[in-house]
């Protein structure tokens, strides 16, 4: 069965470039849907998934979203698709944590910098889909601060994301038993984040911590999840406080 991909990007040149990147990255049959703005993207998702956006019959497996769109910010779409079972990737020109961190909080599984070379983008995309999302020192620093101060959310965390089709089958280290885990990092995760914030590479961290490099990646993935879940818990608590739910 073909893998369905949605690319939301207003610049047609960039869109076709990203299409090439996606096709180059995976050996599966790829069906690409393109959208130039948020409106089109929403329509496409609705038609693809029928009535329910949460449990679509034949969902997109991969969604690339540009942050700067003519009719709004890509983060809006990310927030709407919080429970949509797809790997969501932000494609942007912004590489600073001020722009990227909120996107990650909205549930992005990774980010691609549009000015990177074709080969670099292909490799990065493959990594994200395999479960090795990028994490720049600035964002790692931001994450450390975020988790150190605590997100203050309640313990009614929603269920973790349903696994998307591309995800690796490695079990998540995220603890299901402890309700507060979603807003706390394990010591190992903190350690990984600290090293990342100092600019160490995954390999260097692995050797410093005496673990395999893919274990480091698992930690990073887990941190991503926790960030997303904790921010969603935060939003849920906020919403219930404001009487929205």
């Amino acid at each position: 069965m073909a893998v369905k991909v949605l690319i939301v990007e207003d610049n047609p040149v960039a869109r076709s470039f990203l299409c090439r990147v996606v096709r180059e990255s995976f050996s599966d049959t790829i069906v690409i849907t393109e959208a130039g703005d948020l409106e089109t993207a929403r329509r496409q998702i609705a038609t693809q998934s029928g009535s329910s956006a949460v449990t679509p019959t034949d969902p997109f497996k991969l969604i690339l979203v540009d942050l700067e769109l003519p009719d709004g910010n890509g983060m809006e779409l990310l927030a709407e698709l919080a429970r949509y079972p797809a790997t969501k990737i932000v494609t942007t020109l912004y590489s600073d944590d001020d722009h990227l961190f909120p996107a990650l909080q909205c549930g992005a599984d990774g980010y691609l910098l549009k000015e990177d070379r074709f080969e670099v983008l292909v490799e990065e995309l493959q990594k994200i889909v395999r479960g090795q999302p990028p994490l720049s020192p600035a964002i790692a620093r931001r994450l450390l601060t975020h988790f150190r101060h605590g997100s203050g959310g309640g313990d009614t965390a929603p269920a973790p994301l349903a696994p998307s089709g591309f995800q690796s089958s490695r079990p998540m280290p995220i603890g299901k038993g402890a309700p507060l885990d979603h807003e706390r990092l394990t010591p190992r995760e903190s350690e990984v984040l600290t090293y990342l914030s100092k600019g160490f590479t995954i390999k260097e961290i692995a050797s410093l911590m005496g673990i395999k490099w893919f274990t480091v990646n698992d930690h990073i993935k887990s941190i991503y999840k926790k960030l997303n879940v904790s921010s969603r818990a935060e939003a849920a608590v906020l919403a219930s406080k404001q009487g929205l739910v």
Partner: protein
């Protein structure tokens, strides 16, 4: 800190109660009574608050008693019949009718009175002694006896409603006398008695607010002077004679008042502002001496009572000045200086008055004037001094006004006495002339007097503003140094002997310990930099190197300065915020517009070189906008990003990176430094990736003692760097390094590769 210790909370409690009770202007909840003599507590706080209600009631009772007393005194004085006439001495030393409202007496204006007959009492009026208001100010004992006898006789004669007056031309006037009434007592009586009442009330408030030994002594002094003022007020109503007990009581009581006041002053000075060694013994001796003199004179054992009184009071006054000087040597409390000034002024005028009176003994009319006017002015002056003392540290304005009053009245009194004694001017002429001259002298010497009395503020306004803004900038840079910087500013402003930062929470700026210290809370100028900051206070002690008292105006000034500092910091922050918002907006626009176009250009590039060139441009644009948006970068953070970025790019090019980064201080890079270093590193690495065919790049970065060393070494195929065309890339590196004030060189490495070395000797020099 003894100053900030136990005395304060009590004073606060006092302030509320007394402020409400005495109906003082307590709009701000601040009455005058938390300072001055009240501040030094000898009573524990708990018992203080327990007794407050009781004291308040007592104060009301005392006030009522005072008013009632005044009322009955006036009523009693107004009751006896009187002759509606004014008398004055004439050239022959006789009693001449100067003015009358009575038509019966009108024809006799200018004639001398020689006798009064009322009922069965007849009095011969031989001279003008009866016009002498106070027997206290008669020098000779026998004169005083005669004065008393004459007054008693005339009073008895006048107490009959029908009297006959014998004039020098032989005429006899038979008169029916009328009651005098309140209106007949004259303005002077009411003024003086009102003043006496105020003094009495202040004494009561001070005593009841905090009944300590010191306050008791103050109350004794104030009450004695109240007594003196009451006597003077009563004597001001004199026409021909005073009612019965006054002539007899005048000398003993008033002399006792003076002596007790002087003794109490000595006692106070022994204890305040500092307890002197042997204070108890000095006090006991002084009190014993005073008791002996008063006892002896009342029982008639001592002749020349006036001389004894004047000499005793002068001696004690001089002694007080000596004690205050001693006290200031032990501890430079500015209160001692102020008290000493007051004492010097009052003692010198007292002695002047004594000498003038003694010198004028040959001219009875002149002596009469000096004794009446001079002594009255002196007592009013002393009374106002006493009134001022509890409020000393409250307001500079009071001090200033008082200094005006003191200076004018002192100069006027001395000139008046001088004219009257030496030139035998008339009373009115001499008073006018002396007032006129003294106002002139005051106007000339005003600044000097103010400086002497208050000490002047040394810091000019201009310098203060300069300091204020300098400190505002520094506070912004180092919020933790706020207390130190603020102390420094206040030190220059007030020139205190001591500045302390204490870990004590204060809510408002206020004056402590009789104005010898001021305490103000350290303001939180930066939000949330230090949760402990609110709990600290700055204490300044002994203003103007111990020669000046802090007043509530100083407290307000300090508050205003803190407020200005707060505003300056807030203003700087607002400006900085505005600038950074503007920069961020600019960066956003650049990034969004130019960035998107460059991206399109890059995707459409026809050759890899063109694509790489545009990518490069795009990255430079991003660096530029990033620098604009985030004006400061910590070195360690920047290093982490450099490393992550370079690692990613080199890994993609299959080149190994050796990264060595060290620094002795994690400085904050300016935009210029950050973007220059970022671009230099990127340019050098790009160059290696593009041309060197290297397998490994070693980057060494060290920042030590402000010297930056950067070396980028590759093992590529590059040779002879001098022959390189310094195109856009390497020219850019040179330009950036030059911008930072450093130098760059390339050289060949053996066996292969190129090394680039950047040295910046004073890295923080160009920010």
């Amino acid at each position: 800190m003894a100053v900030t210790g136990s005395s304060l909370p009590g004073a606060d409690a006092l302030r509320e109660r007394v402020g409400a009770g005495a109906a003082a202007p307590s709009g701000t909840g601040e009455s005058a009574f938390d300072s001055g003599l009240l501040d030094r507590g000898f009573v524990s706080e708990s018992s203080l608050s327990r007794w407050m209600g009781w004291r308040l009631r007592l104060l009301v009772v005392a006030a009522l008693l005072g008013c009632l007393g005044l009322f009955f005194l006036a009523r009693w004085l107004g009751d006896p019949p009187h002759i509606d006439a004014t008398w004055r001495p004439n050239a022959q030393g006789q009693l001449e009718l100067a003015y009358t409202g009575d038509p019966q007496l009108k024809p006799h204006l200018g004639l001398a009175l020689i006798g009064i007959v009322g009922g069965d009492v007849s009095v011969a009026v031989a001279d003008v002694l009866t016009l002498q208001r106070s027997s206290r100010w008669l020098i000779a004992d026998n004169e005083r006896h005669r004065h008393r006898a004459m007054h008693e006789q005339i009073a008895t004669a006048l107490s009959h409603h029908s009297v006959r007056l014998f004039f020098s031309d032989g005429n006899v006037v038979e008169m029916q006398l009328q009651r005098r009434g309140f209106a007949g007592l004259g303005g002077m009586f009411w003024l003086l008695s009102a003043f006496a009442l105020v003094l009495y009330l202040v004494a009561m408030v001070v005593l009841l607010a905090r009944p300590t030994g010191l306050n008791l002594l103050y109350a004794i002094m104030a009450l004695c002077q109240t007594g003196n003022l009451v006597f003077i007020a009563v004597e001001s109503t004199l026409e021909l004679a005073l009612p019965a007990p006054f002539p007899r009581l005048d000398m003993p009581l008033r002399m006792a008042f003076d002596m007790v006041t002087a003794a109490a002053l000595v006692n106070v000075v022994c204890l305040h502002p500092r307890r002197l060694p042997g204070a108890g013994w000095i006090a006991i001796m002084v009190w014993a001496g005073v008791a002996a003199i008063v006892g002896a004179t009342t029982n008639g054992l001592l002749a020349d009572v006036w001389w004894w009184t004047q000499a005793g009071a002068s001696a004690m006054g001089l002694f007080v000045i000596g004690l205050l000087t001693w006290s200031y040597r032990i501890e430079p409390h500015p209160f001692a200086i102020v008290l000493r000034r007051f004492c010097i002024v009052s003692i010198s005028t007292w002695m002047l008055l004594t000498v003038a009176l003694a010198a004028a003994a040959q001219a009875p009319g002149v002596q009469n004037n000096i004794a009446g006017i001079g002594s009255m002015i002196w007592y009013v002056f002393l009374g106002s001094l006493l009134l001022l003392v509890p409020f000393l540290s409250k307001s500079q304005q009071i001090m200033r006004e008082f200094s005006l009053l003191a200076a004018i009245s002192t100069v006027a009194t001395s000139l008046d006495l001088l004219f009257v004694a030496v030139f035998s001017f008339g009373q009115f002429a001499s008073l006018t002339l002396s007032l006129f001259l003294s106002v002139g002298v005051y106007a000339g010497a005003r600044q000097w007097i103010l400086n002497q009395l208050l000490g002047s503020s040394m810091l000019t306004t201009e310098r203060m503003f300069e300091q204020l803004y300098r400190i505002a900038r520094e506070v912004e840079a180092h919020p933790a140094r706020t207390p130190t910087l603020l102390s420094q500013l206040l030190r220059e402003l007030f020139e205190p002997m001591e500045v302390l930062v204490v870990d004590k929470h204060t809510t408002a700026t206020r004056i402590l310990a009789d104005g010898s210290a001021i305490i103000l809370p350290v303001p939180e100028l930066e939000n949330g930099f230090d949760p402990e900051a609110g709990a600290r206070s700055i204490v300044l002690r002994f203003a103007h190197r111990g020669r000046r008292l802090f007043t509530s105006e100083d407290a307000r000034l300090a508050d205003r300065i803190v407020e200005q500092l707060r505003r300056a910091v807030a203003f700087d922050k607002a400006v900085e915020q505005g600038r950074s918002e503007e920069r961020a907006r600019l960066a956003q626009d650049l990034h969004d517009d130019i960035g998107a176009r460059l991206l399109t250009l890059m995707y459409k590039a026809h050759s890899p070189e063109m694509e790489e060139y545009v990518r490069h441009t795009l990255q430079d644009l991003k660096t530029l906008t990033r620098g604009l948006a985030a004006p400061t970068h910590r070195l360690s953070h920047a290093a982490a990003e450099w490393k992550a970025d370079l690692t990613q790019r080199l890994t993609a090019a299959h080149i190994e990176l050796g990264w060595n980064f060290s620094f002795d201080e994690d400085i904050v890079l300016s935009v210029v430094q950050w973007s220059a270093l970022t671009r230099v590193l990127r340019e050098l690495v790009s160059n290696i990736i593009a041309h060197a065919q290297a397998r490994r790049v070693d980057i060494d970065f060290s920042l030590e003692k402000d010297r930056l060393d950067l070396s980028v070494l590759d093992d590529g195929v590059g040779r002879n760097p001098r022959a390189w065309s310094h195109g856009l890339g390497l020219g850019g590196v040179r330009k950036r390094v030059k911008q930072l004030g450093g130098e760059v060189e390339w050289r060949e490495l053996s066996p292969r590769g190129i090394g680039c070395r950047v040295i910046i000797r004073e890295f923080s020099g160009r920010r």
